[in-house]
């Protein structure tokens, strides 16, 4: 499963924001509950005082109880049950002195005295309290947003300032290619973690470069130095070949020595060429008009195609160009031609087309005996192919890679097709 990647600082900020949100939410609940509780107690004290005064008033046998607002005698009413009381209610009312509706809390109680049973409703203005409570919530929300904004700005500041050396280091590392022999430009920082990281990266690159150099030297030396002994082996074998008496007895042995020496020699020189290409020794990049170069190659090989009874279908665009060293184009095209010549069955056709920035060589043939994703790997060849070095297409791929060219391979309708285009971007 691929997780979407998020920058560390964004992720940290996000986690902080969620934490702050939860903390603020919990704090809000606590504060609002405390406020409510404080107010409930305050209201209750107020209502109790009123209740005591009312009871005292009734017990003192006043004449005009009916003039008391919101007091109703319920002596004979059996529907009134003591357990239903007291009743609380918050309600909006317009007070006589004010124009605007205001919030009141009412408490309705059942008063049972020696003078009879009464239901009495008391009111307390809780408008200010409500405003106060809203004020608290608003303050909490505003504080949260201000804090979130500050945190985001701070994280941007961190990313832009404190983390700058880290990002610079990342950019340098992402540009690094093996073989660049890169001495990482020093990134100025006083953060000890980044200084350490920089040192580690530099040490790592030095080690990689050193190993790579040794490996290259080894390959190059092997490929180069073995040519002279191979030349001697071949030269001595040629002496044997000229000796008819010896050949009458040892022809097959001599042939094996000769063939293997030739194979090894070709292997060495091709590996050497690969190394030289990797080392960027062929860097005279030119915009090549491929038309005449391809024509020249085709003229050289046409005879071999005819001898194998292969049809050559050619459709070349005179304006087609590729940007690379001419020597490398020769190596690349020769290898593609050799590949087509080798693997196309007799009486079939090979097609060479250039158009719209693409060069395609396709040929009829049997499907591959291995996975097509390995076609450009070194030493990959068809099972029954003994004489091939198995390096031709690896060479072609290497040349393409180093010259920002894209090579693709497809097998469709019994045709193997190699297409070379300029890499977009």
């Amino acid at each position: 499963m691929n997780l979407k990647s998020i920058r560390l600082l964004t992720k940290t900020t996000f986690v902080y924001l969620i934490f702050i949100l939860i903390a603020f939410f919990a704090t809000s609940i606590f504060i609002i509950r405390s406020t409510n509780s404080f107010f409930n107690e305050d209201s209750e004290v107020y209502f109790k005082r009123r209740e005591r005064r009312l009871v005292k008033y009734i017990e003192e046998d006043p004449k005009d109880l009916e003039k008391v607002h919101d007091l109703v005698r319920v002596d004979g009413n059996t529907n009134i049950v003591a357990t239903q009381y007291p009743q609380f209610k918050d309600t909006t009312m317009v007070a006589s002195q004010m124009d605007d509706p205001m919030l009141f809390r009412s408490k309705t109680i059942l008063v049972e005295t020696s003078k009879g049973r009464f239901v009495y409703t008391m009111y307390k203005n809780i408008n200010d309290f409500d405003k106060f409570r809203h004020g608290i919530v608003r303050t909490i929300i505003n504080t949260f947003f201000v804090l979130a904004l500050m945190l985001t700005l701070f994280s941007l500041f961190l990313s832009g300032f404190l983390f700058r050396p880290f990002h610079q280091l990342l950019a340098l590392m992402s540009r690094y290619k093996i073989g660049d022999n890169l001495n990482l430009p020093s990134v100025k920082t006083s953060t000890s973690e980044f200084i350490k990281m920089q040192q580690l990266v530099q040490n790592m690159i030095s080690r990689i470069e050193d190993d790579y150099k040794k490996l290259k030297e080894y390959t190059e030396n092997m490929a180069h130095e073995m040519q002279t002994p191979l030349a001697i082996i071949r030269s001595k074998t040629e002496v044997f070949i000229s000796d008819e008496e010896l050949m009458s007895r040892y022809a097959s042995t001599v042939k094996v020595i000769y063939d293997e020496a030739t194979h090894l020699s070709n292997l060495g020189s091709t590996l050497n060429l690969l190394t030289k290409i990797e080392n960027g020794e062929y860097n005279r990049v030119e915009v090549l008009k491929t038309y005449s170069i391809i024509q020249k190659h085709i003229e050289t090989v046409r005879e071999m195609f005819d001898l194998k009874k292969l049809q050559l279908e050619i459709d070349l665009d005179k304006n087609h160009t590729l940007s690379l060293d001419p020597l490398l184009f020769d190596v690349m095209f020769k290898n593609l031609l050799k590949n087509a010549l080798r693997y196309t069955p007799a009486n079939q056709s090979v097609r060479i087309i250039t158009s719209n920035g693409t060069l395609t060589i396709s040929n009829y043939g049997e499907p591959l005996s291995f996975n097509s994703s390995k076609i450009f790997n070194r030493f990959i060849r068809c099972q029954d192919e003994k004489t091939s070095l198995g390096l031709g297409l690896a060479l072609v791929k290497q040349i393409c890679d180093l010259n920002h060219l894209k090579i693709s391979y497809v097998f469709a309708n019994h045709q193997h097709s190699f297409t070379i285009t300029h890499n977009a971007g």
Partner: protein
């Protein structure tokens, strides 16, 4: 004809000495640059076979000095394969040809003879063996004084055989001579077989005394009929 072989490897140089001595050349060897420098200024050679990778310097230095002193001798440079820069520099400095290591002696012989023919002027454009004569300038082939028609590749093949008569030419050597590195081995042996079959027919039809015989599946030999 006098040759100087500049090659530091004693095995290879002794092989070349035997090979060219057996072909009627007077051969001398220099194993390093210093000796080679002394030799080319002290004696006269028709051709120098010059390996560029010498223990005490590059063979290109010798070439540069010889050309600066306007020495008449021809130069054939021997380079490690793929040292394309060396080939280019060598030819720019005035080398007559180059050959890459490891080479076939037959190919080296053909190149040496070709350089010597070019160096020695008009009289040497004729290549003769038995009753066959080839004019290398006009590409004319005469068998028993009668012209025969050959394709370009058949002509090249016959010249290669004539330069290396009575010697086995391996199939690899012929393929390399005819197509360079455009061909690889799998199919190209069939291709040369085709050419040889046609060339044999044409030579036989014209009554040639020269014949191409197959040698133990390794190659072919051009000899005079007994």
């Amino acid at each position: 004809m006098k040759l100087l072989i500049v090659e530091d490897n004693t095995e290879l140089s002794s092989d070349l000495v035997n090979f060219f001595t057996g072909n009627g050349f007077l051969v001398e060897v220099a194993y390093n640059l210093k000796t080679a420098q002394q030799k080319i200024f002290d004696y006269s050679y028709d051709l120098v076979i010059l390996d560029l990778g010498l223990p005490d310097g590059s063979g290109l230095e010798l070439l540069r000095e010889a050309k600066a002193s306007k020495l008449e001798m021809g130069f054939l440079i021997v380079t490690a394969r793929n040292a394309i820069e060396d080939k280019v520099t060598g030819l720019e400095l005035g080398a007559d040809d180059y050959i890459t290591k490891p080479f076939h002696k037959a190919e080296l012989n053909a190149r040496v003879r070709s350089i010597l023919r070019r160096k020695n002027g008009d009289g040497n454009n004729l290549l003769e063996f038995s009753n066959i004569a080839i004019n290398l300038m006009s590409f004319e082939v005469l068998v028993n004084a009668e012209a025969i028609e050959l394709t370009r590749k058949e002509f090249d093949l016959l010249v290669y055989f004539m330069y290396n008569k009575n010697r086995v030419l391996t199939k690899e050597s012929i393929v390399e001579h005819l197509w360079g590195d455009h061909a690889d081995q799998s199919d190209s042996f069939d291709f040369i077989y085709n050419h040889i079959k046609n060339l044999r027919k044409k030579l036989q039809r014209a009554g040639s005394q020269g014949q191409i015989s197959s040698v133990y599946g390794m190659g072919y030999k051009f000899t005079e009929k007994k």
